[in-house]
């Protein structure tokens, strides 16, 4: 809610900050998760597409995957598996956290087996 000349209006959060001459503090999180060697980016894409079907899941030009504003990227590969970076802005906190936890639970279990 923003008050102008004794009138209250509803505006977007970013617009409210602009009108108060304040700038947003950007928060980003980057976490790592280790996936088993058998998990290719295609398998990962299909899993994310199925699990987050209400979101925009796509391949980025550099080979990484994107689910709305959450980025899933390879950071290193070895015989043990693939290290992935999962990165998201605070605006997509619930999605980012949920995606990371899903990858940790699902693929860490496969890795143990």
């Amino acid at each position: 809610l923003v008050m102008h000349d004794n009138r209250i209006t509803i505006v977007e959060a970013s617009q409210a900050l602009k009108e108060c001459s304040a700038s947003e503090h950007e928060i980003r999180f980057t976490s790592t998760v280790s996936l088993p060697p058998a998990c290719s980016m295609d398998v990962l894409y299909k899993t994310l597409k199925q699990r987050f079907s209400g979101h925009n899941v796509q391949h980025a030009s550099d080979g990484s995957l994107q689910v709305d504003s959450v980025l899933v990227k390879i950071s290193g590969e070895s015989d043990e598996g693939t290290d992935m970076l999962v990165s998201w802005p605070y605006q997509d906190e619930e999605l980012g956290s949920s995606l990371l936890t899903m990858l940790q639970n699902r693929f860490a279990k496969e890795k143990r087996e």
């Binding site: 947003e24 999180f29 790592t32 605070y90 605006q91």
Partner: protein, 86 residues
């Protein structure tokens, strides 16, 4: 199954982080093993035992974690607590 995700953040944060206030609050919340370095653009808070780095700059903060969600959420909550918000 499909996830139901809330697409709006709980808070909108703005302005800059007071690094001393942040470190003080981290300590208060049990994060004690940390090193703070000054950088040209701000500060880096390093948590060596957790392999975690917090990069603080003017108007932005980036938390790099090794997948420890409990720790990340604690750092997130302390950060939000220390920033002006609505």
């Amino acid at each position: 199954e499909e996830e139901i995700i809330n697409k709006h953040p709980k808070h909108y944060v703005y302005g800059n982080l007071d690094i001393e206030d942040f470190v003080r609050n981290l300590t208060k919340h049990g994060v004690t093993d940390m090193k703070v370095e000054d950088t040209p653009g701000g500060h880096i808070v390093h948590l060596p035992s957790e392999d975690t780095i917090i990069q603080v700059e003017e108007g932005s903060t980036h938390i790099f974690c090794e997948g420890n969600e409990t720790l990340r959420k604690k750092l997130r909550d302390v950060l939000i607590m220390c920033l002006p918000k609505f």
